[in-house]
């Protein structure tokens, strides 16, 4: 008979740091990507003028876009890493819902978006909803 090895459960600090890493990287990525897309302009209009290839070229020649994608990739690998150590029922809802709120704060600070009461309310509602749904 084999005795199963006790699973190494990361402590509270380790778990929080893994989730914080995902949230920080994905917020930085989202904000940089949003800034890049705003600097490029309406993709539908670009596609109407210069076709799908032109639209793809417009995105792929924007350095800010690659900065954003770099952080999003970092967030993705932090997610894979943490899923290897923590249960998905903790990581998925925690990172998805926290990211909504940190993004609202970052969009107000860095993108100067008009985050009014309606948008705060909706960010918080979707945040709680995602947590309940994914938990």
């Amino acid at each position: 008979m084999t005795i199963p090895l006790p699973a190494l459960q990361p402590g509270l600090w380790a778990a929080s740091s893994m989730i914080a890493a995902i949230v920080l990287a994905s917020t930085a990525g989202e904000v940089l990507t949003a800034a890049a897309m705003k600097s490029i302009g309406d993709l539908d209009e670009i596609r109407a003028h210069s076709g799908l290839k032109g639209a793809i070229r417009a995105v792929l020649t924007c350095p800010l876009f690659f900065a954003g994608v770099g952080f999003l990739a970092l967030a993705f690998f932090s997610l894979l890493y943490s899923l290897n150590h923590l249960p998905v029922s903790l990581v998925a809802p925690a990172s998805a819902s926290l990211t909504l709120v940190t993004n609202a704060i970052a969009a107000k600070l860095f993108l100067h978006e008009n985050v009014d009461r309606r948008r705060w309310a909706s960010a918080v509602l979707v945040c709680i909803g995602v947590y309940l749904l994914a938990h």
């Binding site: 705003k38 894979l80 969009a107 309606r118 960010a123 509602l125 979707v126 309940l132 749904l133």
Partner: protein
């Protein structure tokens, strides 16, 4: 990912190898389609408009698993579905893009 042996930070190559697992390849292909649509939305709308709206995808997943896969949904999850729907309805009521005053106007204000 949990079906794999634990990955240590001092062996980052194992994390790269995980990318070439068939299921992860399929997931990445679908994520590219999602990302293209997401970028197009971000080119004409605010991040704080697009992000909550994209949360509606969670509701679609939950409803698909209920009516297609016949999974049961707990009252807690129904509450989550209602909250996301209300939240998206909230943000959709407002403008999709922050109005930026034209530069000339900004000086006179």
């Amino acid at each position: 990912m949990t079906s794999m042996p634990p990955i240590a930070l001092d062996h980052p190559a194992t994390l790269i190898a995980a990318v070439f697992t068939p299921w992860i390849v399929l997931g990445i292909a679908l994520l590219i389609g999602y990302f293209a649509s997401y970028l197009t939305a971000l080119s004409w709308a605010d991040l704080t408009f697009v992000m909550p709206a994209a949360g509606l995808g969670n509701v679609v997943i939950a409803l698909l698993s209920r009516y297609w896969l016949h999974e049961s949904i707990s009252p807690e999850r129904w509450a989550g579905i209602v909250l996301i729907t209300v939240g998206v309805g909230f943000v959709a009521q407002g403008p999709s893009l922050t109005e930026r005053p034209a530069q000339g106007k900004e000086l006179t204000q």
